[in-house]
Chain length 240, copies 4
Amino acid sequence: MIRVTIYNENIHDKLDHIKAVYPNGMHGAIKECLEADGRVTVNVVTLDMPECGITDELLANTDVLFWWGHAGHEKVPDSVVDRVQKRVLEGMGLVVLHSGHFSKIFKRLMGTGCNLKWRESGDKERIWITSPSHPIAAGLPESFVLPKEETYGEHFDIPNPDEVVFTSWFSGGEVFRSGCCFLRGNGKIFYFRPGHETFPTFFDENVRKVLVNAALWAAEDRGVFQTYGHYPSPETGLLN
Amino acid sequence: MIRVTIYNENIHDKLDHIKAVYPNGMHGAIKECLEADGRVTVNVVTLDMPECGITDELLANTDVLFWWGHAGHEKVPDSVVDRVQKRVLEGMGLVVLHSGHFSKIFKRLMGTGCNLKWRESGDKERIWITSPSHPIAAGLPESFVLPKEETYGEHFDIPNPDEVVFTSWFSGGEVFRSGCCFLRGNGKIFYFRPGHETFPTFFDENVRKVLVNAALWAAEDRGVFQTYGHYPSPETGLLN
Amino acid sequence: MIRVTIYNENIHDKLDHIKAVYPNGMHGAIKECLEADGRVTVNVVTLDMPECGITDELLANTDVLFWWGHAGHEKVPDSVVDRVQKRVLEGMGLVVLHSGHFSKIFKRLMGTGCNLKWRESGDKERIWITSPSHPIAAGLPESFVLPKEETYGEHFDIPNPDEVVFTSWFSGGEVFRSGCCFLRGNGKIFYFRPGHETFPTFFDENVRKVLVNAALWAAEDRGVFQTYGHYPSPETGLLN
Amino acid sequence: MIRVTIYNENIHDKLDHIKAVYPNGMHGAIKECLEADGRVTVNVVTLDMPECGITDELLANTDVLFWWGHAGHEKVPDSVVDRVQKRVLEGMGLVVLHSGHFSKIFKRLMGTGCNLKWRESGDKERIWITSPSHPIAAGLPESFVLPKEETYGEHFDIPNPDEVVFTSWFSGGEVFRSGCCFLRGNGKIFYFRPGHETFPTFFDENVRKVLVNAALWAAEDRGVFQTYGHYPSPETGLLN
């Protein structure tokens, strides 16, 4: 079983108009979707827990961490960010959702500003698959529609992704690299664009396939143990 | 079960000094190694079979094609190369070994000259893992040695690989990108450098892990069905 | 001065309704735009010339070859394609325009099917810059519009580009990687999507900046001379 | 003229056995080399200056920042690192030398551990060009030798570079990606491996060509101005 931890800051989720969309919070919808697959167990942690619930022990027992945040990015302590970065480089997967593009942990791992254009005008989003052999695209049609979503537009200020699985079209005129894979250390990172709190995106059948596929993909850690630091010559044995 | 076909031109393999190294041909050694894994079935075809044994029917029933060739590159008919290229783009995996860098099918899929420096002075080769989280590196130490191999040296005239899993060091002074992954259409291609006919490379324990890992990796085809050609607007339904 | 050769098959250009858009052919519009820059000299060759006008001598004196073809792709002799490929790998730049995605030379250099979705419904195209520091984007606004163009849609069956400078949005619902850079051998290749014969695209101010920028970028060949083939050890001098 | 600033922490450079190699400090050798090109002006700043000499005003007047650090990495204030990162993302070039792989600014921009294997046994280093058409390789032979250098070995824990210009061979058995290009925001970053303080590497003729080429390459900023944040639909003008 793949051990997933979902971090949701759980701020918007307490508002009535969001509860109307996500009665159990966005984390509830994501948890239900992942567990329904049968290959995944899920823990949920939130911003209001001590250390955001993200202890060293939890991370040691997490194969993939999902991350949704927005209003509370700055409230996540740097010590938690340090800890998550370390674990990703060791091999834990990380799936960053929607406004998580501006989270401390995503910016930390990217090294760039991670900025973009945005607008809440209820555009239609059409998501095209631009890397058809990628495991995260398994089982999807060649494009699918979210009737209303927040719009994100390029330029998305990230390093060139190792693979771009999805590219979005918005009715308002924008395009966006919506499914981006990054390899960092032994860890795999997937950024997935959709998931605004005011829309029922995490109940969409295709989005749910993406979430499951992403968990399976990011969980894979065939990382070879690497020695770093002072190292003897493999030819002569000399160390100095 | 993953269905592997091994193409070996089987020219050198008939010479006495090569038989001393590979009593059942290089294809025999590779077949035995893959079958021992338990997840793979293997067919062998050779240059002297009609159409090199590579019919449309065979390809339709092949998940991954392994390719070893050298002296007989020019004898492979273009019609066979066309057929293999088409199947790779549809999603079949291709594992190209050693001197297969100069095969028609590899040059066809790369679009470049695929040239390199070479020398048969019996250099020691040390293979380092440069992409530790890659499935083809699973179970390997951070470097391993082949006591004697043919030397290949950069510049290797290929497109930038999608991932470089291995980089070789040679005692004679060269470096080489020895494990290169390429995505083409729905297909996955892996080039693996070692495997000169005069050395028992395909009996090496680490090389055998690479061969099995490469078969498993290249077999994965989660390819979304893609429509090409004249296509109606998904927004308006207009075709013209 | 950068020596550009424009190959235009010059078939559509002879029809009255195309002449109404391009009185001097598409090659005439492109030539005028490049020469106006002052750093470029231009030769034009067409399909009806012996060997398409593309002789070894011409290629030896060409820094960048522009290519527009559609109806006459199959009429370009393979010997000409061989010659152009060889020269690109030696360091000549190649700028492939619009329907040139299906030319023999582009498919040869890519190794893939180069297929896509298309439609002539007069969609609006909006071109976004997705690699803002790239020389081909110099002087452009962050997006620009072509009021009517042929629509191309993903999946575009090419290898992962070395850089994606432009991504297009179409009013009909598609997205497309419209400006793709590929390094092959010592040569630089740029694919640029717009340029359908029925629209005055090659008179558009922003497109003309792209054409000039692409000529300057693709002309750069700082290629180190590379030795290939049998090569003595740089450590011991041994050749065998 | 390209405006280069060289940051050298200038700690080792004050020791007698280093002065014997670099009478004017490593910064002196690098400055002399860049100025000799005639297209570059050079400022030098050091760790012991207020704010390491790296003020907003200096950065606003710097096209490319060279960075050599080792013993003093932790003494560079985070506020200086913030400032440099911001300027790189805006378009300033950054050339990181040797032990600068462990500087705060490089780790910040990479998002990874940037660790590696190392040894001071005086190995011979042979540097091969693995991207022959890259401007940083201009004028170099296909390989060149540094008779003695500190050894660095893979795995080098960095994101996949946008381009790998050099790969090193060491007599002790290691390989290393020694010339790595990264695009981040509008900025260009070049990591160059050689340059240990105890060896006269910065006087080597080929290394000096690399330094000049790197300054010219990293200085290029054709960055399109990008709007980020709340953005109206280019189709409808709607902002909400």
